[in-house]
Amino acid sequence: MNFDFSEDQKFLGDQARKYLSEQCTTAEVRKVLNDDGMACHESLWNGIAEMGWLGTAIPEEYGGLGLGMLELCVLAEEIGRALAPVPFSSTVYMLAEALKLGGSEAQKQALLPEIAAGKVIGAYASSEGPGAPDLSALKTTFDGSKLNGTKIPVLDGDIATHALVTAAENGGVSLVLVDLNQAGVKRTVVKTLDPTRSHAELEFTDVAGERIGEAGQASPLIDKLMDRAAVLIAFEQTGGADRAVEMATDYAKSRYAFGRPIGGYQAIKHKLADGWVKNQVARSNAYYGAWALSTDADELPEAAAAARVAASEAFWFASKENIQTHGGMGFTWEVDCHLFYRRAKLLAVQVGSPKIWKEKLISALENKAAA
């Protein structure tokens, strides 16, 4: 039994935590929160690029470090823990992974080295309005050369250099790679619950793009991309959830009420114990997802779905009860609780809400039972 990360991988995680605890304090996160003109933390992004994190799972022949997905999982946990206000998931889990999964040789050669170097920022554009996007009935269209339509909200859409856009083509769905620095692309910043990660509306009018994968046949590719992203985001959520429980625990030890620390009362103790238990469930499911991701196992769909749902619920619980444990202080702008509450919600809906993933999970189990 070897169901854990290796010593080297844990060392990478420790180094990342140390780096982020210095470079990505909540004071730094707040700079992005408080400044509408700041879409992300540029110096942190540059630092992360210099550390080589963006190319962690990009093969060496394309300018990456050539490490594996397990190393990327370890980094994802630290990014989530630190609430890093950078377009890491959009660029790495979405753009780089889509290119690795379905990109042509030319596309890979053109973009992967640029991603690893921090020169390209990605975005994944699928949502077109309230409700989960129905990939079989998208309003955005692609005709083989021109893209038309509107996507909202697009995470990191205002700072991305390239977007992956889902679009209707030949009665199916295509995944279209678009250079956003061209005429016909209109970007409008959109306000969201988590201003530490910027969002935009993207309007495309006769915009040039090229497919990743086949025309109208991208559905399996998108499913796989989502499964892989779900595992990585589950690590971000697990990191955030752990830190929220730690924060609440620390506060409960030092805050006195009725003559003793509030952490001595069972109403608080049991709540925090519940949070810790949920975090273990999330972590164990995320590890299983990491195993499935790193070995490209047949179990990836159910492993990814279980990791995503468990981690979404753990971070939700931890972030809301962190505020509750802090009492009135927890409801002030100055105390950091709301940063976790905001991020927890972003990560829970970013690649589909838990409801969608519960459905994916049961479908995967049904397919397995029928096979």
Binding site: D4, G263, H270, N285, A306, K358, L361, I362
Partner: protein, 399 residues
């Protein structure tokens, strides 16, 4: 990351499997809560075979009859044994909790007298701690031991004693000094369960069965030589026993997500969105429990001390079992009330575990005590207020 054995583990697994195959039939269906004379006889015979094969108490040192093996080998043995129709159970408390306490605190005489016979299944042990007024707060127990010459005289009552009806010996926690605070006046003894002053009465449980017992002590004489640990040091001795309990308590036997998914499929419920969402939750919890055990086993396999994560086991599984049984019954509508195995679907597994589940949330540490343990020992939060901490036991309020 993988789920494979190391070469050494694989070799041990093969050896264990070969031994099991040579000595036991394969399991045909999930084991029930088997009881009775016939079962006990088979269990004793199997324990003897196991001990002679060198597979009883794998982690114990060879000097006390164990294998001198690793915790991971014990895990592997348990996994393999559970896939055969092995009559285990009656020795779990004795070998898991009582005998380790005897080894830790008993005299050489005790070890020579008791350990080998327990190991080969000839003598069965029970643990006599809980009392009607001392459950989660077990140090509040009232059973008295009064010194009389070379003996101690015991009077009082224990409750929820598993296996007392077929036990030969027990470890008995008593109050020897009521004039000091509760933790300081306790002393542990070895008691002969066949003594005429020991009366075992089955408890009629809410589930309808009578598997647990009350044990009454009336002027039972125990020689001072059968004391475990110092007079007044009983709490320290009990903590060793309870530490072993936490290692032993694991999952909750009964239907899980796969059984209710199978049932839901048969009932044509797989198009019911609410049922699908609940199923997803159950799968995630079940995986959370299973995979967390894998993390613990990984630590053992690497020779590390496992973290506290395994303590989530009983809280998760007992509550999930209760929830699944509740849904399994409601899915059958009014018919779900029927608990006749001949009439109820799936041999009434939902109905029978429905009545067991409340007990599983209480036995071996209630949900509340387990949450306190996580909060205090893992998260480092302050202990509950203990107003009786410095008060002499005989001055304490109780009820």
């Amino acid at each position: 990351m993988d789920f494979n054995d190391t070469p050494e583990e694989a070799a041990f697994r093969a050896e264990a499997r070969a031994f099991l195959k040579a000595n036991l039939p394969e399991k045909k269906q999930a084991g029930g809560r088997e009881r009775g004379e016939e079962f006990l006889k088979r269990a004793k015979a199997w324990q003897k075979t196991k001990a002679q094969g060198g597979f009883a108490q794998i982690t114990w040192p060879k000097a006390v009859g164990g294998r001198g093996g690793t915790p991971m080998q014990q895990v592997i043995w348990n996994q393999e044994e559970s896939s055969f129709a092995a009559p285990t159970g009656p020795f779990q408390i004795g070998l898991g909790m009582c005998i380790p306490t005897v080894i830790a605190f008993g005299s050489d005489e005790h070890k020579k007298r008791y350990v080998p016979k327990a190991l080969i299944g000839e003598e069965i042990w029970c643990q006599l701690f809980s009392e009607p007024a001392a459950g989660s707060d077990v140090a509040g127990l009232k059973t008295r031991a009064v010194r009389d010459g070379d003996d101690w005289v015991i009077n009082g009552q224990k409750v929820w004693t598993t296996g007392a009806q077929f036990s030969d010996y027990g470890i008995l926690l008593t109050r020897t000094d009521p004039s000091v605070p509760k933790h300081k006046g306790l002393t542990m003894f070895i008691v002969n369960m066949k003594d005429p002053g020991v009366e075992v009465r089955p408890i009629h449980q809410a589930s309808g069965g009578r598997e647990f017992n009350e044990v009454y002590f009336t002027d039972v004489r125990i020689p001072d030589s059968d004391r475990l640990g110092e007079v007044g040091a009983g709490w320290k001795v009990a903590l060793v026993t309870l530490m072993n309990e936490r290692l032993a308590v694991g999952g909750s036997p009964g239907p899980d997500y796969d059984e209710i998914m199978k049932f839901g499929t048969e009932m044509g419920l797989m198009s019911d969105q609410a049922f699908r969402e609940k199923l997803a939750d159950w799968y995630i919890q079940a995986q959370g429990y299973k995979l967390t055990k894998f993390r613990t086993q990984t630590a053992l396999s690497r020779g590390d001390t496992p973290g506290p994560e395994n303590s989530i086991g009983k809280i998760l599984t007992a509550n999930q079992l209760q929830d699944i049984c509740n849904s399994g019954i409601e899915l059958q509508d009014h018919y779900g009330l029927i608990n006749d195995e001949e009439l109820a679907p799936m041999k009434a597994i939902f109905q029978s575990s429905f009545m067991w589940a409340p007990g599983l949330r209480i036995a071996g540490g209630t949900d509340e005590i387990l949450k306190n343990i996580i909060a205090e020992r893992v998260l480092g939060l302050p202990q509950d207020v203990r107003v009786d901490k410095d008060i002499a036991f005989d001055q304490m309020k109780s009820g």
